[in-house]
Symmetry: C2
Subunit: 328 residues, 2 copies
């Protein structure tokens, strides 16, 4: 079923106020959860909201926490999120990175002791909306084996890179696993086969069965050894920048919390930016489609289509989760 965007947001807002979130914070969080569903990232919109509420009730998320600056040098700042809502901490950090980039061309803000930021793309869109290039990534609980190993000791550390563009921002939002854990759960719950192998089953065979992959915990890194290496270095960077709690410690601590995240904003400087972006997008689309009637898309292009559809026809919701939230 579908629900109007405003109704979705207003339900989130109501629940958040009942949990004693300050009005402006409730508003910001409700907006972003609703936007995530609106843009088609259901796993980190409505579907994740009940978990968020539970974490607040369990005291794992501190509704009132405000980030404080702990250290840094010049355009590189280290903040402490004090276990506040990941969404608010992340939004704050990207805004701060943008301020630094406005002054100094580039800004990098790392935050420790934060919580899940839901859809990483949110903060890429945020940077792009201000005309900035945005780069951000997060560590996660261990959920992916390294290349050559079977036990999950790496995170699938989502990486976001966004480029502002008048006709629609380019926003790459990718987990370093071939499929995000949310995506695997979605395929599992719908009983659908993955279009391409997403990991190994427990017998060590490449598999398109999401349930078998989730069971073996052998999620595939993008590009096999390459994604394994990329995940490791992103873990190192997030941990070094924030100076706290490596993936080992995060994973040992029960439910995923105390994450580290990194936000970089870069100011496009020069008069040819728009023209060059259009040249590249146009050139990319000259590649003949593999399938009849197929098309080559840039990252973020389909988000805009989903967004337009959601605003026109209502945001798609899973009925039972929607009912659950209405009863919170």
């Amino acid at each position: 079923m579908t629900v109007p965007f405003d109704e979705l947001k207003s339900e989130f807002n109501r629940v958040l106020l009942s949990l004693n979130f300050r009005q402006d914070k409730a508003e910001d969080i409700a907006q972003i959860f609703a936007e995530n569903s609106r843009d088609g990232v259901y796993t980190h919109g409505l579907n994740r909201f009940p978990t968020f509420v539970q974490y607040v009730k369990d005291g794992q998320i501190a509704p009132d926490a405000e980030p404080t600056k702990e250290g840094g040098l010049g355009s590189l700042e280290q903040w402490d999120g004090h276990f506040g809502p990941g969404i608010l901490n992340a939004k704050f950090c990207m805004a701060r990175a943008i301020e630094l980039a406005n002054e100094n061309g580039i800004g990098c803000v790392a935050i420790k002791n934060t919580n899940h930021w839901m859809r990483g793309g949110t903060y890429g869109w945020q940077a792009a909306e201000t005309g900035m290039i945005g780069i951000c990534f997060t560590n996660t609980i261990a959920n992916m084996p390294p290349w050559g190993g079977v036990d999950p000791v790496l995170g699938n550390n989502p990486l976001i890179i966004s480029v502002p563009r008048k006709e629609g921002h380019v926003v790459l939002d990718m987990a370093i696993s071939q499929y995000s854990i949310g995506k695997l759960n979605l395929y599992k719950s719908q009983g659908k086969e993955l279009p391409l192998p997403g990991g190994y089953d427990k017998d060590g065979h490449l598999s398109t069965d999401a349930a078998a992959i989730l069971e073996s915990q052998r999620v595939l890194p993008v590009g096999f050894w390459k994604g394994s290496g990329l995940s490791l270095v992103l873990d190192l960077l997030a941990t070094i920048f924030s100076q706290v709690r490596s993936i080992d410690a995060i994973t040992g601590g029960g439910p995923e919390s105390g994450l580290s995240q990194v936000f970089i904003a870069i100011k496009p400087i020069g008069t040819k930016t728009n023209e060059l972006i259009e040249e590249i997008i146009k050139y990319t689309k000259t590649s003949r489609p593999e399938k009849d009637g197929g098309e080559v898309f840039y990252p973020g292009e389909n988000t805009l289509r989903t967004r337009a559809k959601s605003l026109q026809e209502g945001v798609w919701v899973e009925e039972n989760i929607w009912e659950k939230v209405r009863n919170l």
Copy 2:
């Protein structure tokens, strides 16, 4: 056969001096070409040297060119490489990014009008040697189709991320294609099968035959649609930062030249850096090996082994290419 490192370097130096390179420049270029072979990146060491020499003779590489600063803001600088040797321009830019990071926490240097930097990892090692985190990437001639398309309109834009570490730096050096073009050529020349699919043959089937993939030009991006998106955004970033010549223009211009590259250095700040890095490396290695007697490696670990072996037993060279260089 193998050749002592010093002999390899000295041959390169001799040839470069004969091409009228200034002594210090010849020394730097010879050192890096020799190091690339020493570290096992043969495709961008000795094997590529004759091509480099030819490009100098053809006037595509200007031996005397010095980079000049063109613009920027604060910690973000834009330079022009004036078609000088890619190795020297890249080394200069990473050194400049390190200076900026020393002053301001983070430094980002973009260069336009440069040439192939050979092994991207060189500049990651360079940053790590000074205790800095290094990130760099380059655009390339179009050599990889986007997801959903068949014509190569994206570059496989190598991405390097390095982390300084007392016991051996962590250096990720990856092309965004599953196998670099150099690696595919190596497998083709040796008639060996790729361990995992590296692209599509001309009938559109995933293939482990390097020759068939090079023929179809349908090299596989890491993680299918994800690498396709990552390549596109790296192209956008390199082009926006340098404000010149998109991949379309590079590809249209004959042999690969006039590239744009981006170099970022970040200063690790805090007292726990080493301890946290060791914690992550150690934790990663706790993953039980997939195969009996197998091992989980971090990026850069095997480079150190190859390096030690090369220094002890001599650097491996392809005999016919070595002869060719000795006769240049």
